[in-house]
Symmetry: C2
Subunit: 104 residues, 2 copies
Amino acid sequence: MQGDNLALKAKLFRGFADPSRLAVLEALKDGARCVSEVVGITGLSQPNVSAHLSCLEDCGLVKKRKKGRYVYYQIANKKVLRLLSQAEEILSEVGEEVYKCTRY
Amino acid sequence: MQGDNLALKAKLFRGFADPSRLAVLEALKDGARCVSEVVGITGLSQPNVSAHLSCLEDCGLVKKRKKGRYVYYQIANKKVLRLLSQAEEILSEVGEEVYKCTRY
DNA sequence: TAAATATATAATTGTATAGTTATATTTTGA
DNA sequence: TCAAAATATAACTATACAATTATATATTTA
């Protein structure tokens, strides 16, 4: 129970608090993908995807591996996927309310 | 595996993506507290705490119960606490990186 | 070596939202 | 019934950050 660095925890959550970043993470859920594949899957622009991936990599949520001119990214840790499915569980209960909430 | 509403999921995560809101949630971890207690525990301003609690309640993450002029709030669901500890687990591995990340 | 492809970065802009101050509303108790 | 206490809301400001456009930096292959 040493976990009390709220700023840090908030920062971690911010990593997940954006639809585009979630789309990027989801694009990686079955394994490594290069940037252009993620662009194809998500429909986001290339610079946008690159920025999000760099950001996620900076935070250790994804790992990258360069292969020629391609850069393959993958989820760094199963705990990341577990957090995502935990969120889905919560949504199955409060999804309606979250949807209707206009505050944030 | 019907969970693919990314905007909704991002919105949920945004609920956790703020140090003050996390402080408020943490103040409730051992049970119900009224607003002024949360103010005392967190050191945040009263309007600030009120706004965060309303917001969290709107999203179904906390529940409120009025008793006289006091309003008691509590965590709505154990899954919420589970998500928080899951985040701590991730931080135990990538906390360093998240800390150093300057992007978001 | 030049053109094409893949990725990253920079500059800019717009928007969302956290916090403050001030005030309103409700409830209790003297 | 009036003052005090508890909570909520409104208006405003400042800041963080997502997305776009444009460009730079590899890397491959023709």
